[in-house]
């Protein structure tokens, strides 16, 4: 365990160094919120990939594949394909027409106050759910790794994260993500290599073992390559297949509405770099997910069941990757993987806090309360730092309250569904539909937000448990069309907005040509 602690402290120390380096360079809002727009294409690609390869991806999906086989693989596919939506529809217009937050784009030609207020609410909601999931994951891992109890573990994570965000801003969180992404890729490559080595570097042998996966002889063999172990009708009841489609829809559309991913596109000098960074991210994320299938499936052939169950006998899905590392590479590799997993969570949490606090400061404080005028220079940044502190404290509190056994995947799935239902329709209509007006934006944001949250509460993972009135775990297939419909009807059924329409020319030219886009500041 002491090697783990040393590795862990080394990594933490290194990222703190990055933070203090960034703190010295952080002068002004553009530096704090958008890293001075100095991040290059491949760097941002790594940072976006790093943000995305969260605990849910590295630990959660490999665990799900280990226990439920093919159905876990479906998550990886959805997570990657979602970036096509980002690439084709959202990344460049966003960079061209906005400044610091997603709401900058949404409020471009609308009446700013209601739209920014709702966009800020939606950002805070999505970020909070995502964040609680990560905090719970982090607390659980620290608890296993260095045997600190759950509550202090969560508090420790929260404090570290606050240091990154409050002092380092976007520059620090971006570079932490980059370093983290590189380490994670290295760890994944090594893990996959060791798995294949175990099977004599023969893919045929590997797949055959997976089709008769018996957890190193400690369980009945099952064919993990077959779909349906988790979402099939036999496993999940008659609604299982539809639930899978709903989940798929939420995944593929949700990324393009995730504020903490979108905000990364403001850190590059221009839209063309934003475009190339998405492509880099897709290459890295794609490779990463292919590897997770190798070590996820591999774990089911190599690890004994007893290693990956909790004391009560239930599967402990989050620890499959580190335990596999221990089995194949000993204490050293286990420590490395665990430290990287932990750093993964820390970095994502920092990024989430960054975007949530930026949204509150820039959208709500500056624009809604103070009508877009900064009353004192530096006030916006100061408010963001304070918000980061508050958001951090709140999510630490909620995570501790919920405890280590709450389903983190459920929370992340909620975040995606909300993002796809509330944010994406309004982003798309804003940029591409002239007639779109404030009422439409307000309707889309609120109906998307409310319907997704209500349906989750009414689902089997919500407040009614098995007696739930809504049969799907994921509300996507209902709430996403509702969001689009509300935005559409809210526009068609209300008066035309001449101001919104007159600004469409400007938004359109900006979005599609980059004229007048926010430029990089020099350091």
């Amino acid at each position: 365990m002491s090697i783990s602690l040393i590795m862990f402290l080394c990594f933490v120390g290194f990222t703190l160094l990055i933070t203090f380096w960034a703190a010295k360079r952080n002068t002004g809002a553009s530096a704090y919120f958008a890293a001075g727009r100095s991040i290059t294409g491949w760097q941002n690609g790594l940072a976006v990939a790093g943000d995305y390869m969260s605990a849910a991806s590295f630990l959660g999906i490999s665990g799900m594949i280990c226990f439920s086989g093919y159905d876990g693989f479906m998550y990886s596919v959805g997570f990657l394909v979602a970036y096509i939506t980002v690439l084709l529809i959202v990344a460049e217009p966003l960079r061209n027409a906005g400044k610091y937050t997603m709401a900058d784009l949404l409020a471009y030609r609308m009446s700013p106050r209601p739209v920014r207020a709702l966009a800020s609410l939606s950002t805070l909601t999505v970020s909070t759910f995502y964040m609680i999931a990560q905090m719970v994951g982090a607390g659980g891992i620290i608890k296993e790794l260095i045997h600190v109890p759950f509550a202090p573990a969560v508090i420790g994570v929260g404090l570290l994260m606050l240091v990154y965000v409050v002092f380092g801003g976007m520059l620090a969180t971006t570079w932490v993500q980059i370093v983290k992404a590189l380490l994670l890729m290295a760890g994944a490559v090594l893990l996959s290599y060791l798995v294949l080595q175990h099977h004599g570097f023969s893919l045929a042998t590997f797949f055959e073992a997976v089709s008769k996966a018996d957890y190193a002889g400690t369980a009945e063999p099952k064919n993990l390559l077959e779909p349906g172990l988790k979402y099939g009708i036999a496993a999940a009841g008659p609604w299982g297949p539809l639930d899978l489609v709903s989940l798929g829809l939420g995944l593929v559309l949700g990324t393009a509405g995730l504020p903490h991913i979108l905000v990364r596109f403001y850190t590059v000098p221009d839209a063309k770099t934003a475009r190339s960074s998405v492509v880099w991210a897709m290459a890295i994320i794609g490779l990463f997910y292919i590897m997770t299938t190798f070590f996820g499936f591999g774990a089911a052939t190599i690890l004994k069941k007893s290693l990956i169950l909790t004391e009560s006998g239930a599967p402990n899905p989050n620890m499959v990757a580190p335990i596999l590392a221990h089995e194949l590479g000993g204490e050293l590799f286990f420590s490395f993987i665990s430290a990287v997993a932990f750093a993964t969570i820390l970095a994502v949490v920092a990024g989430l806090t960054m975007s949530a606090s930026a949204s509150f400061a820039h959208d709500f404080y500056s624009n809604v309360i103070h009508h877009g005028k900064e009353n004192r220079p530096g006030a916006e940044v100061k408010v963001a730092r304070i918000t980061a502190f508050v958001v951090g404290a709140v999510s630490i509190g909620i995570a501790i309250f919920l405890g280590p056994s709450v389903n983190a995947a459920f929370l992340v799935g909620l975040a995606f569904a909300v993002a796809a239902s509330a944010n994406l329709p309004v982003i798309i209509f804003s940029v591409f539909w002239k007639r779109f007006n404030t009422s439409g934006a307000v309707a889309g944001l609120s109906v998307g937000l409310i319907s997704s949250i209500v349906l989750i509460l009414l689902s089997p993972s919500g407040i009614f448990g098995k007696e739930a009135p809504f049969p799907l775990q994921n509300p996507g297939i209902v709430s996403i069309p509702l969001g689009f419909l509300a935005a559409y009807l809210g526009t068609i059924l209300t008066a035309r907005d001449p101001e919104a329409e007159s600004k469409f020319a400007e938004l359109s030219v900006r979005a599609h040509t980059g004229l007048g886009a926010e430029k990089a500041t020099s350091h």
Partner: protein
Amino acid sequence: MDENKTPVDWNRLAAKPEFHALLGRKARFIIKATIFFMAYYLALPILVGYAPDFMKTKVFGEVNVAYLFAFSQFFMAWIMAFVYVRVASKWDKEAAAVIADVK
């Protein structure tokens, strides 16, 4: 913040036929591409859920249709990205031409 010194006449730019043409080309590509990738992607959970026996058919050794189709999605995504970048570079040039006469 560098703003242009003379205010930009957005309406003039937006009214240019080159701009309309550019937007038309972009819209046509993006709509077609979106229909394609969404259909290809959603086919996966639909087939897996509603045609499980077909998806379980083995193709190479133990590797089944489901696995190959899921794996192909990665390549579809990468190819889509590659195609988009090529097309978008052309659009960049056309966009630059639209704003070339802005001081």
